[in-house]
Every structure is written in structure tokens, then in C-alpha cells.
């Protein structure tokens, strides 16, 4: 992924250096396990460790050009460095025993950095939920005013969705923490199960049970789809911020830096470019799902068609979701929230948002639902500057069974939002002594 969208801590794990270091670590761990199980002479591992001080990436790359095989270049390099004892390196192993195990370690380490970031999203959203549990904002369906809700309620819906996506991501990260040391076609032809188990355990991985030459790619595809689902959950949040940020709405705005400029042509512009940027990132993340699934369908004990895909999409997906979480966190943390504007927007439209409650009131007073519905529809669609309740009361069949006072009290009572539900569900957050883990803002 281009540096612009790569958090450095995650990107480092996907460098050539990190990869070769890990390959070496795996070769050593395998030697150790084989030595322990007496497959190879005692002392081999130590000798190899002593003999090889440096992994010269340049030299390996040059060998690769000649051999046209990346792991063989690496192993040949090691053997040449190590001298005679070097012939035990990679003993009984196939390239994928290294490559797939290393990939699992790269994923595992970088996903830890991603998963840590999800906790920050939870914290920052809970902070907003607490602060705006009762901040009334218009609920909108189809982009049209419906009934009021609260901003805390809106964010709670987003938080719950994001947490579901995160829980699936944890599970996917677990599915993919799998290596192998079972040889060319996974049959333990040359290395027994116990050695594999010993080896992988020391690396913190589980073994692939009945492997082909490679670890099964459903594990990776499941990771990528889980990342895409989280990205899409975050995109929904960003799309809503873009809507709230519109000039005509202006309720919840993405922050705009002091020295920031919005447009080269129009100096007044303050645009939600962070939220828009993340919508694009989510498109990228969804795009990895399809090739990741196609990669699953390897022929027989494997072909290498998945390799070019994975070199690109696995690091890219993990970098991008890390970037997306970083930026989402910043955007939510810094939002400019305007409760006054929310109030105005609610009141600007002649009380139309009251129709749902009034419908129930008229039914309660005995009017058939359909009749009540049509009376209210007609009153609320009237092109007039008057408040909807006034127009409605001009209807005799309505004024016969209710009046302005009753309607008003019903209204007040009926437009409630289940704020207590928020307080109960996030009770920790709502304790007075709750200390914001991110410091005060």
C-alpha cells in the first residue's frame, strides 16, 4: 500500500526485512524441533545460529534471479553461509512450510495492531454516547424527517454494529493463526506430526490438520471478508457524518484545521474530506473479497496463483483497515457537534414529526386507523405555514374526539427516546467517576 495510507507500525511487519527475519526464525525453530526429536544431529541448531550472523537481502535477491524461486534462494544462501552443517537447514521441509508459517506470523502480529485500534473506536464512541445521550436530533428515513431520536442513540447503533464486526474480526484472526511443517503434500512423509506440533507451538501457532502443500486459503479469505465488513460498518458512520455536515443540515461536522484550506478556488470551503476519504478506503477494502475467495480454489495439492494476489491484498488490507481505524477515531473524537442547529432543524417543518404519535392518539380515542391516517396525511401535506396540529384540528372528525391541549400533552409524552436503555447498557461509561481513557478533550 502507498505510504499515505499505511500506518508505519503495521507497514513495518510487511517489509522484506521482517519477512526474511521471520523465515530465519522459522528455519531455526524447525531445526530445534527436529533436533529435540532426534531427526538431525545434536548441536545443529546452535552451529547454524553461530554461523549465520546476517541476512543479506541483496545477496538473496540476486540468487533468486538465477534460481527463480524465492525460498530456494533463501535456503541456498543460508547453506552457503553455514557451511557443512547447513545441509540440515530446511531438512524434510517444503517452501510452504516456511512461507505459510511466516505469513501467519505476519498476519498475527499486524492484526494485533489492528485489533488494538478497535478498542479506541469503542472508547471514543462511548464518550460521545455519554455526552449526547439526550441530545435530540431528527431521525431521518429516506433522507426525510421521521421522528426525533438522540445523537447518543444514533452513535449507539453504530457502536453496536462496529462491535459485532470487530468480534467477527477477532474470530477471523484466530482462524488464520495456523502454520504447517508437514512437507510437500502435507502428509508428514518426512517430518512426523510431533515435530510439527512442537515447532508451531513455540511460534504461537496451531497446525493445519490435513494440509495440502499449503495452509487452506479459506482462512485468509475469511479474514479479508471480515475486514471488509468492518470497513463497511465504518463507512456507514462516515456517510452519516457527511450527511450531517451538509450545508443545509449542519448538525455534526468534521473538524477543520486552523491552517487547513478547503479549495483552491473557493476560500470559504470546509469539507468533510476525511469522511469522504474513508468511504473510498472502504471501497478498496471490499474489493479484496473477491480475489481472496478466488484464491481458495487451488488445484489439487496447490498451485501458486494465489501468491501474486496475496503479496498485494493481505498487507494492503491490513494496512488500510489500520489506517481507517486511525482516521475514524480522529474524526469522531474531533467532531463539531451543534445541538442548537439540531433543535432548529426539528422545529423548522411545522411539527410533521408528530404525525406518528398523533395517529396512535386518534386510534386510542376510537377512530379507525385508516380514517385517522388519512386525516393526518392530508393535514401534514397541506402547503401552509401553519403548524400541522392547527391544520389537523380544522378537521371536524378530529376535533370531535380530541383538542389542542390533549394533543400537546400526548405529544410531549410520546416523543420519548429510550435514553435509559443507553444508560443501562453503557452503565460503566455513565458512572460519574468514569475517566476517559484518552484524556480530556
Amino acid at each position: 500500500m502507498i505510504p499515505r495510507y499505511s500506518p508505519p507500525d503495521i507497514a513495518e511487519i510487511w517489509t522484506e526485512k521482517w519477512k526474511y527475519d521471520t523465515w530465519f526464525e522459522i528455519e531455526l525453530s524447525a531445526l530445534r524441533a527436529m533436533e529435540h526429536h532426534k531427526m538431525i544431529p545434536k548441536g545443529t541448531t546452535k552451529s547454524v545460529e553461530k554461523a549465520i550472523n546476517v541476512i543479506d537481502i541483496e545477496a538473496i535477491k540476486n540468487l533468486e534471479k538465477e534460481l527463480r524461486h524465492d525460498v530456494l534462494a533463501f535456503v541456498t544462501y543460508l547453506e552457503r553461509q553455514a557451511g557443512p552443517v547447513g545441509r540440515w537447514i530446511h531438512y524434510g521441509m517444503t517452501s510452504s512450510d516456511i512461507v505459510d508459517t511466516a505469513l501467519a506470523l505476519q498476519i498475527d502480529n499486524s492484526m494485533n495492531l489492528v485489533l488494538a485500534r478497535t478498542a479506541l473506536m469503542t472508547v471514543v464512541l462511548k464518550e460521545k454516547i455519554k455526552k449526547h445521550a439526550s441530545t435530540r436530533i431528527m431521525g431521518r428515513t429516506h433522507g426525510v424527517h421521521a421522528e426525533p431520536t438522540t445523537l447518543g442513540y444514533v452513535f449507539a447503533g453504530h457502536l453496536e454494529e462496529i462491535e459485532r464486526s470487530v468480534s467477527r474480526l477477532y474470530s477471523a484472526a484466530d482462524f488464520v493463526a495456523v502454520g504447517k511443517l508437514s512437507g510437500a503434500v502435507g502428509t508428514h512423509a518426512h517430518i512426523p506430526e510431533e515435530v510439527e506440533y512442537h515447532h508451531l507451538k513455540s511460534l504461537g501457532l496451531k497446525p493445519e490438520l490435513f494440509a495440502t502443500q499449503v495452509v487452506s486459503r479459506d482462512r485468509h479469505a475469511n479474514l479479508i471478508t471480515s475486514i471488509a465488513l468492518l470497513a463497511t460498518s465504518l463507512e456507514r458512520l462516515m456517510v452519516n457524518i457527511r450527511h450531517y455536515h451538509r450545508t443545509e443540515v449542519g448538525e455534526v461536522l468534521e473538524a477543520f484545521g486552523e491552517s487547513q484550506r478547503g479549495s483552491s478556488a473557493m476560500p470559504h470551503k470546509q469539507n468533510p474530506i476525511g469522511a469522504e476519504n474513508l468511504c473510498g478506503i472502504a471501497r478498496l477494502l471490499r474489493s479484496y473479497v473477491h480475489p481472496a475467495m478466488e484464491d481458495m480454489i487451488l488445484w489439487h495439492e496447490r498451485d501458486i496463483s494465489h501468491s501474486s494476489v496475496e503479496r498485494v491484498i493481505i498487507p494492503d488490507a491490513i494496512c488500510l483497515i489500520g489506517y481507517m481505524l486511525d482516521k475514524s477515531f480522529e474524526i469522531i473524537r474531533d467532531l463539531k457537534i451543534d445541538p442548537e442547529r439540531m433543535k432548529q432543524n426539528i422545529e423548522n417543518h411545522n411539527g410533521q414529526y408528530l404525525t406518528g404519535g398523533v395517529l396512535l392518539h386518534l386510534i386510542w380515542q376510537g377512530m379507525p386507523r385508516e380514517k385517522a391516517y388519512l386525516a393526518i396525511k392530508s393535514a401534514s401535506h397541506a402547503e401552509t405555514a401553519y403548524h400541522f396540529i392547527s391544520v389537523l384540528l380544522e378537521n371536524k372528525s378530529v376535533s370531535k374526539i380530541t383538542n389542542r391541549t390533549k394533543l400537546k400533552s400526548v405529544m410531549a409524552q410520546k416523543q420519548n427516546v429510550a435514553v435509559n436503555k443507553l444508560k443501562e447498557h453503557y452503565s460503566d461509561t455513565f458512572r460519574p467517576q468514569w475517566v476517559h481513557p484518552l484524556g480530556s478533550k
Copy 2:
């Protein structure tokens, strides 16, 4: 989905009749819950039940043309049937309280039928694993002979992958078994939480915690991606059967019916059309992932852009995965397996598959890995009719440290496949008294 690819038991759940019956069941259940919590007059539910004997789909459809709103057409129909008591129907509810809850019930019921089918796949694959645990077949990487494995081992790899996909599908089915009764913007403005809980529990569903107008669509997208992953796991199995079925390979063939005909032009043809057909079905199933994810990004408290998508892809995905499981089961059950051909294919290529073991032997005998590698590479690439071992022994640096007898014994010993691992892992299946749940075949 077109009938050709729709199992009737699943398709029935997605008929208009099933939907309207479920809508009615939900309206009644909601009435019951509201009555229980004294929101509406006692006896209302019974009166409504008594008054409405039939759901006349035609009449509802006609109303829908006029009102351009499907749920309002349904509710209006019910109210007209029920008379005055009908005004309590749908009291305090929004359309999605019905639609999304009904969708959850349709998914839940049809996914049960899908999940039951997955058990059959497990059984039939275990049967093959047991029978062919030791049936030697060439392991192939890149379509090229590698080292031998067994057919049981191959199927075990597929089974493990399929079972992982199935486990994710169970989890996804659980995530989506969620309804709502929280009103227009999910805030319980008119119906308290307890009523929702009471109502949904009686339907076997959990509530959406902080709903918008609708149940969150990440749940449905996760279901669709899980289905696509299972489909792709099945496709890998089908692709491999297509490979084994090739004229030149001929090891594992899709069965061909007595009266079946393979081609209108060439009477000899016996094609693996079932496996090919399922590869196409898997493409369809993967195609639902993207629109399912796009559906997640509803605006504010919802828009209705997801609805047209879901009318198509949710029933289609569930029908197709049911069909795919049915056909996969039949194909695997009826496979024509030819161990004799497998043996011939292994032996046809001058013992090339032995190079891995010989490499280790030469290293063991003290030869540097790289030197051993090059000697073997050269011998195995020789264009000759002689067995690779014979060619290799012409190399003096090889014949100096080993001989034909040693090589042969090493070979026999090294080409093993971890058959015991199969027997341990599927120990139940391997008990002599294991009775095949599908009867004998």
C-alpha cells in the same frame, strides 16, 4: 431463483403465502404482547384472530397498487377485515417491525434446512475417507506430480475446510436471528422495551439493541459472505473432481447415468457436468457478497435501497447453497473411484515422485544440500525411458555414498502418508461397527 436451482422445501419459505402468513403471525404476536403489558384493551388479540379467517393475497396486492406501500396494504386489509377492533393492529409499529422480523424468521427457517444438509456432506465425505484412507493417489502441485498422498487424505483436507465454513455459517445464522419492535426510528417512542422482548422471545428471536428503523444490515451481509465462503469451499472440491475426471487422468469420476447422454454430437462423451454446474453456482453465490455489503450503508435511520437487493439475493443465496449441498452430496456419494488408474499414474513417470526422499537421503549421507539437489534435478530431468534412480546412480558422487538397495529401502520408508492421523482424527468413523447413516451404497 429459477426452479431448476431451488430445492422445494427451501423455496416454499420464500413464497408470498409464507411471507403473508408470517406477517400475520407477527401482528398477532405483537398484539398479544401489547395486551399482556396493558397497552391495548384486553381481548383484542382474540377478537382479531376470530375476525380474520383468510389472508387474501390478491386483495392485498390490489391495495398495494393503490397505496404503493406493501405493509400498509396488508395492515389496511387486516383492519378492513377485522372491523373496529382492527384499529389496534399495528399499533405503535412501523413497517420494518413486521418486515425485518419476518425476514429473520424466513432466514432462520430456511437456514435450518441448509444447515441440516451440511451434515450429509460430512457423513458422505467421512465414508470416503474411511474407505480410501490408504488408497494411494499422486499428490499434484501446479498440476505436476509431486509426492503421493492418499485419496482419504485428500478428502480429509476438503472435509476440514468445509467444516470450518459450516461453523462460520452457524455463527452467521445466529447473528441474523434478530427482529425488532421498537418503532419508526428504533427509539421505543411508542412501544416499551419489555413488549418488544416478550414479543420477539415468543417468535424465537433476539431484539436489535439500538435499532434504526431497521435491523442492521451487517447481519445479513455476514450471512451472505459466509454462504459464499462455503460455496467456494465446495467449489474447490468440485474443481478437483473435474481434474481427476480428465481423460488423461481418469482417477475419480463423476458418475454417469445409464440413460444419460453426454453430447448431441459425440455419443461417447461422459462429462463431469454436475461438478461444472456447481462451479457456476459458486460464482453466483460469490456475486451476492458485494451488493449485500453495499446494502449495509443505509442513510441515517434507513433508506429503502437495500430492499430490492434483498428481495432477490437473500432467497436466491439460500436456495442456491441448499441446491449446491444437495448436488455435492450426490456427486461425492456416487463417485466412480479407480485405484488401479491411480497406481498406474503414479508409476508412469520414471519415479520422479521419489526425488524429495532421495534428497534427504543424500543429505543424510553427508552430501551438501545444494549439490544433492543439483544431482537429483539433473537425473530427473533427463529425457530417457529409464527409471530416475538408475539415472541418478550413474552420477559418481552419488554412487560413492549410496547404492540401489539403500535407496530402495529409503524410498519405501520415506513415501509414507500419515494414515494413522486420519484414523485417530476420525476414530468414530473407523470403528468396525460404524454404521453409515445413509445406508449402504
Copy 3:
């Protein structure tokens, strides 16, 4: 596709009846061509035509169950009907000679119905462009006010895009109007080129030049992607209507029927459900791209994995784009356009939209760009009820080089929209005597 989204004229072409009639037509045409080239006895075609009066779909379906081959069932049915002369039917042909040629005819006929619909979209958009060439509406970037444009200008941008998509669709329809009569592997083993040419010409198709068993699937994939691109162009238009329709914007609204109802809970609701519905349809149409491309990669001279995919996605894609064009046309034709609201929205924000013009003016007056930019940015971001120009003039370095009068005249002159460009480009439409082909509305 479900009937709800299938225009009947298009759907009819994809019925079983239409397909079998076409298959018969193709068999007869092939007989005629072979007879003409003396491959089969003179009079054969006439005898066959006379002998077969009816295509009994039920009978064919029953045969298919036995033979498990759709074309062989059909051919066998024909032969049994025709008696001895029937043996010439399908002579030298392979199933795909029928199936792919028929598919081309189905696509060709139904695409004609689609392409006819695109002309209506052009007409209705031109009508709006003419009427609203000068209707000022705020141009919005990032959802934030930018500079004014006109509604005609906005629609012209959409029209140009749609016409590009339509031109690509014409080209794609041409690419796919291809049949074959070249036998089992496309080599003319049994039927010479001249017969194929004669035959296809009479059906209005071109031949596949070096066919495999089938017509190459890049042709179909290109059709599907072109449909998806048109769908996405239409979706952009629909998304913008949804934005204009928002309660806070209210400038261009989807029409709402007299008897229509917007919500079962809130009688006041008037939602842009048509535009939302079409956004969902576009998601479906994009989803067909991937499987259509995967279908291209058939093995060797063909496998049948594409068949299950195409049975679904080709008719579905053509039906849906037809439906989408029908509905788009209606939505645009019936739009409720509110120029007064547009004017208010432009004026509501203290003249911020003027900053671009003022920037140029200050530069013209000699101020460095950066200095001018910062002065304007600061004035326009002031939280105040005053007009931006007034705030700006409080800045001494500004008032030194310009004044209110100058600024006003500059403004008037600079905020122009190239309306003449519209008039020139759509000059026919703008002639006074232009008669709207759809009648007056």
C-alpha cells in the same frame, strides 16, 4: 428475475416457449442451409416443417429427465415427431450450435427493447434541460455549497454521461450478436464455413470466427459490464435526486401519488422510494460483472460451468436494466421542481458562494493570491449573521483596493453559468417549435 422487476415485453423473450421456438427456428434454418449446399437431401426441410406442428414443452422436459441433456431431449423429440426424415435434424451439429445461437437471438431481441428505452431517457432529460437551462441551483461539492450552477446544466452532465454509457451498450450489443454452426470443437469438421455463413445470415447474426465448442464468453461479459456501467450512471442521477429531496434541501422531489402512502407509522412521509429502489437495482446489476468475467475462463474447448450462471444473470441483467430505464424515465418525467426553494438555499448562507469570484477580483486588483485567499477565508468563516462581503470589507487591505460597488458588479458578472453552451449543444431541443415527443406534461 422476479416479476416485480421484469418488464413483460422483455421477460417474454426469456420464457421456455420463446427459447424452444427459437431452437426450432434454428434447426430449420440449418436444414435449409445444408439443403441449399447439398449436404442433405432436397426437400428435407419442408418435410420436417410439415411433420412437426407443435413443440410440446412438457414432453421435452420429460425426455430431459431421462437423458439429462436438454438439447438431446429436444432433438430426440423432434426426430420422433418427424419420422425417418427426422434423422437429418441436427446433422453435423453440436448442442452449442443451437444453444449459443439461440442465446444470441434472445439477447439481440431483448436488447433492442432496452436500447429503445434509452431514447426515452434522452428525451425526458432534454426536456428538463430546456426548461431549466437557466434555473439557478446551488452547486455543491462535498455536500457543501460551492458556486451556483443551473438545474439544466446539472441534468446536461447526467445526460452526457448516460449517452456515453448507452453508446457503449450499443457497441456491446453488436459484439454479442454472434452465433455458430461449426460443430463440436468449432473446426467445421462436418459442416463447411459457407453453410454456417448462409445459416447465420438468415438469422441476422455473424459467425464466431475460430470458435471453440461455444461462442467466446468475452462477448457476454462485455455486455454485462456495459449494462452495469449504464446502471451506475443512472444510479448517480438517482442519488442526486435523493439528495435534492432531503427535507432540509427540498429542491427537486420525486413525485408522490395522490393515493400513495409513505409509512405505516408516520402519515406525513413522502419518500423518494423510486430513486432508492433504483439504487438497489444498480447494486444487483453491478453484481453480475464478476461472475460474467469468471465465465470467460472456460477450460480448453469449453466446460459447462458458465451455463448455470448465464441462465440467471443474462435474462436478469437485461430485465433489470429495462426496468431501471422505465422507472428512471418516470421519475425524471414527474419530478417536482421548486426553483423558489433553490433560490432561498442559495441566499441562506451569507453569500459564501461568492468567495471564488471575489478571490479573482482581489488578484486582479493586484493582491497576491495567498494574501487574498486568507483574507477571504477569514471573512467567510466568521460566525456572524452579516453578509460575507460586509465582513470582508472590514479588512483594510481589502477596502484599500476595492469597495462594495465594485464587488457587487464583479459578482453579478462573474457568477455566470454557460447557459449558451447548453443552448448550442442541444440546439434542436431549444428551437421554439420543438415538439416534445412524449406529449405535453
Copy 4:
């Protein structure tokens, strides 16, 4: 794209340096056009050119961090370099006037390098077609032997498909060679049409007719889909080479380098890793289609959600298709073709491939098609070592109407492949004096 898959000539066009140089070229060209039309003082362009000698990317990047706007950073840098005359730089322009025009130039220049590569594919395939026009190879449908074709015929089918994909790519490259200079919302508010025309013509681009703030993204999406279609056409070719390369088939092999090594575990391996690699690349290229289409749906006059997507997918797609063409060319050029093996494979299966011709012969001799079909099916399915013709002649109803001699002559005559069609269609290539543009191989 990672360097491994990026041809350097293409990658260079997508460097920061190339981009900034192009931005500067565009600013100068715009100044020139404005000067020509007397919008700005005479001599401005020359003064600016003289004042700015170097584009200091580092300095611009630092400015961008402060302003959070890439084009403004660039313009501010230029103005500061240029002094007072610098205020005319970017006069009346919006950022997209630069960015989208530069993007068009980057695409145009790099697509030229891609399109040049397609010519090499044509040449190398024609060479193979010429050489193997008559080389008999088994035609396979469903992976099962059908009837023989020739290798030249097979390659001709691929070439025709690739050329169609290339022709669509030319058209797509044309669609996207479009810039703009029409200002903030495309209305020519500050710069008249003539200036835009003059400016873009000098850059070799056409103007976007009724632009929003940006060039319409259908143009870019169409480019990406066209690239994906070509990639998929190439993938079909690569998949077939993988099939031919299988150990059991061995007819057409990917070349294997002298010093190349196939496996770290098995020294004998020679795998078609190039072809497999390109199948993965094609998956990546298809994955860009969906985000490219989603990018089309910008809100109103634009949002910036497409930008992050395009920074990645446009250069990546163009690099990858360039890489794919390079590698495809090499693979096809270097193929190891084994006509002897093809012959053996044809003859290995008891003459089953003759059934199609024999069917026609029996029909010709008067036997009803269905009867003939069943007789041949039965003979060809017999499990026997005898040739199919011998088995067939044991059937009395067959031997009554034909005999071995007749059958043999019929066979010889009927199994023809339309080689002349190849020679006619590629007549230039088949002239004896045709000189291979790539030199002899």
C-alpha cells in the same frame, strides 16, 4: 503496485515527480491560453517560466501538511517562487482543473505503453498459429476428449478474443483522454470555453462537455473494466497452458530455465509458475472493477471519495496489465510444444474421438439418429482394450449398413479441421516471406 509487478517504463509515469512536472506543465499551458485570450497580462507565462526553475517536492509536501490540500500546497509553492506575477497562476481555476487533466495525461501516456505491448502479443500468437496451423491436438470439452483440432486453431481462438479485448481497450483509452478547465462547478464561471479548448488542445486532450467539478468517472470505470476484460482473456490462455502442462497431458509446456529450480523439497519439479502467477494477476485486475464503478456515484458536483481509490487502482491496474502482457508474451514465445505427445494422447483412447463422424455416417446410411446414437454410445463405453470401431462393428444393425473400409475412409475425411480458414484469415502471416518482427527464435 509493488515493484515486482510494475514495468519500470509505466511505473515512472506514476511517480510524484512525473505528476508535479505535469501539474506545472498544465498551469503553464493554462496561463498561455489565458494570455492568448487576454484574460491576464501579456508576458505573464514567460515571467512565470523564468522565475520557477525547480519543483521542490519536499517543500510542497511540507506545505501540504500545513494546508491539508495537495493542489493548494503546489500553487502556493509556485506563487511564492514566482513573486508578484505568481498571483496569476491558477487564476480562475479549481484544483480538479489540474488534477483531472494531469490524471488524463498520466493515463494517456501509460496506456500508450500498454497498447504497444498488445501488438507483441498479436505477433507472437500469429507466429504460433502459422507454425502449428496443422499440428493436430485433441479438442477437449469438459476436460474430456471431444474431436481433434489443431494447435494453430486453438491459438487463433485465443488471438481473436484477445484482439476484441484490445479493441475495446483502445476505445476505452479514447473515452478517458479528457481534461477540463471549466472551474469550480464546471460552469465556465470564470474561464470561457474557448480558453479551455485552446488549453486542452495543446495538451492533446478533449474537454469534458458539461463537467461537474470533475471529469465524469464513467470514463475511468470503463477503462478499468476494459483492462479487466483483457486480463481475463489472457487468463483463459494461461489456464489452458496450465492444463496442457499437466504431467498426464504434457503437450504444451511453459519453458523452464536452465538454472531455475521448481521446488525446495522436490528437485524434479518443473511447474508452470508463470501462467499461474498471471492467473493471480487477473484476479487482482478484476477486483478493481467494483471500486471503479462505485467511484462513479459522486454526490452532486463531486465529493472526494473517489480520490483514495484512484490513487491506488488506476496506476496499479495499468502497471499490472503491462506486466501481464510482458509475461504473457514471454510465456507464449518460449512455449515447449510437443506434437508427438499430442498424437499419442489422441490415439490413446480407442478412437473414441471418432464417434461424432461415425454418427453422421450411420445417419447417412439411413439409420435413425437415435438408434445410431445408442449403438455408438454403447460401443464407445465398452470397457475393453479394442478399438471402438471394432466394437461397433460387432453390432449387427451397424454391420448391415457399413463396414470397416467405409468407416475408415469416412473417418479420414470427416475429422478435418478448417486449416484453410486459418491460412485465409491470417494470410499475411502465412506468406513464405513473412518476417517475424521479433527476430527468429
